[in-house]
Symmetry: D2
Subunit: 309 residues, 4 copies
């Protein structure tokens, strides 16, 4: 490795230092703020370059190297950066959050202390319908009149639940037991630390349109307000090569290649071999999820769909 | 390594095969059952012996080797065994459970499906008081009259909460949002898989008297009904060398050694140097948690406490 | 969850049981064999279905569900399966192998025992040239005459190294120190256990044409001889949706969509905005790795390359 | 949680900033230096206090809390700190090092670049004998005359190995293949990052007298030169409660308690029940490793050994 000075300044990111401790509000009573961090775009480049040793002549600039690393899933250099947040979040969103097992976490304990006196309240225009095409997601918003009624009954319910909790505490019930009937959306607080590689994975999943809106709101703030300031080159590359990426399977690539050379028949043969074009009794095709998903991708790419000619 | 036959039977544990799929009830509506497992006591021994190669002449029998491994914290051979459970557990206990990050988990989704219509109900004689000496724990039980009232109001509350949830579902609210006010003790179900090394760590923490009673009930069933059948030698060694173990710090060992040779004065000098014997204004000693905890250990061992002479 | 019988048979895979313990040879003196395993294709499906609860009506068959999971990177159900191998492998390939941190490992110790008396020998027709286009890889084979000389000097060198090692041992040097000059390609042995999700990641990286040939040989045997027998549906889906997959970035997808609708000019505008089409002094384009890699992908798909019109 | 200012300075440790980038030499040509870090003693305390919420009134000072956490193995707050080192280390010591799976690592690649032209050389007075009582360790030093001869032959061997490597490179052999016969003690370089909880575990194992001297030298420098400056309270507590700790099993504690109240007979009964006092044919006791290890601990504590009366 190249010779190095014997004394180094500690790496820092002024744009992030600027917002250390600033609370970014999320939902009705939640927040996210940066407590500390380690590393920057340059730290990623430094870690990647140790692999190449003297064999690489720094031909590529930092931005190109970061894009190369993310494009080719060379993930370890991104682990050299870490972010530590203080978050305030409803427990049901937190349940999804802590399924990411690579984080370090210290959370407010409702065994030690009385539960935080706040539960997430849904405004009258924020009640969502069950999605029709997505078994796990939300669709549009309910009408405001219905929503207003739902919000009122939620408020009454949360108040009575808190009263139940407080009564138990007053009667001397142990905190760890008294809490059992609190709403899933009761707020909690925590310190949460994660390295950048895993954080990008977290953001890719939780900023996605399939994520529940509540955690998506948090992920979006973390991404756009924090990661964008902290490692701007990585953030740009993440958007180009990860968040907006499309995947094509071996079969799908083969079909596109046939389409590319104008061989619709060959494309259909490949699809048939994959079992995607089984004729239905009524003359159309038996529904097939792989075919439908791929057709949707072809449509996005303005490529012709061979079996819809 | 020694020569081996070209065909091996798959390792199995008849005593565990016997209970595959059997539901062990926990709490009022919970359960634990074994779905599958990998390895046995012999697999641990096999893995440990590869390290020793031909240099070790199998002088020690399997039981002694397992005890040796656990005594000296040689933990990797225990990772060669894995256990997969199906559990049904209240979400508040589950929250503690999934903080163990080394597990593989698939859980029932209340985004995909209507929430399980069951929340943990506390019987009238099961309400616990806040512990006086332990900020996070429970003490004794509340009197039954108070408990009966608490149980009745819990029942009424859980019923009204379920009704609120069902109303939302009926109005078309998305399941992922409708659930937000369900009680923390709503039951969930999951498959949970963990290797034996991490499982022993889980059991050491969750069978401990400081763990919350609800998760302790689960951990006790997993330990006594399942692990005991699966890897009996490991289970015995765990009890001897891990679960019931006492630790002494460098300072504490030094003081015991002074007590051992009858040098109470030397023992007091060491304790003083550690800052444990600061005189209080009233003539006694300033309270010091390290000293108090150590005194308690000395009492358990029937050793004299130098500063209480 | 659906009701279940109280006694379940242990899941097993006859096709894999058939080869338990069978040594698959790799390289000149290496091997891989299955010692034990947990789970099968059905276990993946079972774990995935718990998430869906009663909300899913088993409309999709097992194969479609496994393909869906792999296509959409729903990785946790694959963690429910584990594989335990016994391997014999040169230490330099092993160094790459153990960088996968999610494995459980017990390895032969050259501190406890005399080092295995075998180092990987390269045959005269197996010496590879440095790749010209890939800084880390190999190209074609050296001519056999040169190779024969290289093999002879390797043999002589390995013999003299072993003699040096044996002399040290004979003189009473500690094994942990005596080994220090043994060749990096000295064979070692280990038990190695990994869950299927992480194993697929390992195989995707190590069966790849960019992996070093030695570890690729091991990965190929593990994939084709073992995983293919163990979880055939997953193995098929892995080939279709992971191993042979192509990725397109946000920018690349946008350019393809422009090509798809026949708008070469729009495609060029997008590429220009990405900084890919900087004119070189001599009239061509400044070399740009992102553009070159994408051009290569377009060529594979038989799509026209807008900037090469 | 308490209210907080909206702008926080970034935590830093001046004593560690002082040595950022300074190379601490290890072995004949190795080094360790700090590249970056995150957190300090205060960060550990901050993370621990979030669990206690408002229920704890900061009665305990930071030092006492850190000692409490380490004494009771509350390990998660220590994960809030991370350390990133640049190391230069022989590959055989590195092999032991990277078995710690919780680190983030980027290493010099001998596929990309020509191998570092340095292998660890052992001085004439540094050759160690095989330990007699420890199958895996070293004993005393060999006499200098023998050592001088061993060092000379090592030097000659390393020179010829390097020549062999260079010849291969000159002939056009791929770097990834040419390296295969380099000595295990060839130097490599890497960035290595780990959180403090896992680092303490690493240090407890690798500073231990049973660790191989080479890695022990590295661990000692990391501990004494770096961690001691970085988190002085944690370092002190680590020494008191972890590194110098003694463990007693359930059986051992029971025997000490019997000794404590002067009941040697009861102590012997307990030992007999544990199977430790089987009479040998010749009149003594059958050797028993658990008994021998415990006797050694009793001796250290100046407590009488009941079966040696």
């Amino acid at each position: 490795m190249e010779s190095r000075p014997e004394k180094l300044p500690r790496p820092g990111v002024p744009a992030l230092d600027e917002i250390l401790g600033r609370a970014f509000p999320v939902l009705d009573d939640g927040l996210v703020r940066v407590v500390d961090y380690m590393g920057d775009d340059a730290a990623i480049v430094q870690a990647a370059r140790v692999s190449y040793g003297s064999g690489t002549k720094k031909t590529s600039d930092d931005r190109s190297l970061i894009r190369y690393l993310l494009r080719h899933r060379h993930t370890t250099p991104f682990e050299m950066c870490s972010l530590k947040l203080h978050v305030r979040v409803p427990m049901d969103a937190w349940r999804q959050w802590i399924r990411h097992r690579t984080a370090s976490i210290n959370e407010y304990s409702t065994r030690y202390s009385v539960a935080i006196n706040s539960a997430q309240q849904t405004a009258g225009d924020q009640w969502r319908t069950q999605a029709v095409d997505n078994k796990q997601g939300s669709g549009s918003f309910l009408d405001r009149d219905t929503g207003t009624i739902l919000s009122a009954s939620e408020k009454a319910h949360q108040d009575s639940t808190r009263k139940l909790y407080q009564d138990r505490i007053d009667q001397g019930v142990a905190r760890e037991q008294a809490r059992k009937d609190l709403p899933l959306c009761t707020y909690t607080e925590a310190y949460w630390k994660m390295d950048l590689h895993n954080l990008l994975h977290f953001l890719a999943l939780r900023m996605d349109s399939h994520a529940q809106k509540e955690i998506r709101d948090y992920a979006t703030v973390i991404g756009q307000e924090i990661v964008a300031r902290w490692v701007p080159m990585t953030w740009e590359a993440f958007h180009d090569y990860r968040f907006g990426a499309m995947y094509f399977s071996r079969i799908e690539s083969g079909i596109i290649a046939a389409i590319g050379k104008g061989e619709a028949e060959e494309a259909n043969t490949l699809a048939k071999a994959a079992g995607w074009l089984k004729p239905a009794r009524n003359g159309g095709l038996v529904p097939n999820r792989e075919r439908l998903e791929f057709s949707e991708k072809l449509r996005q790419l303005n490529l012709q769909i061979p079996w819809e000619q």
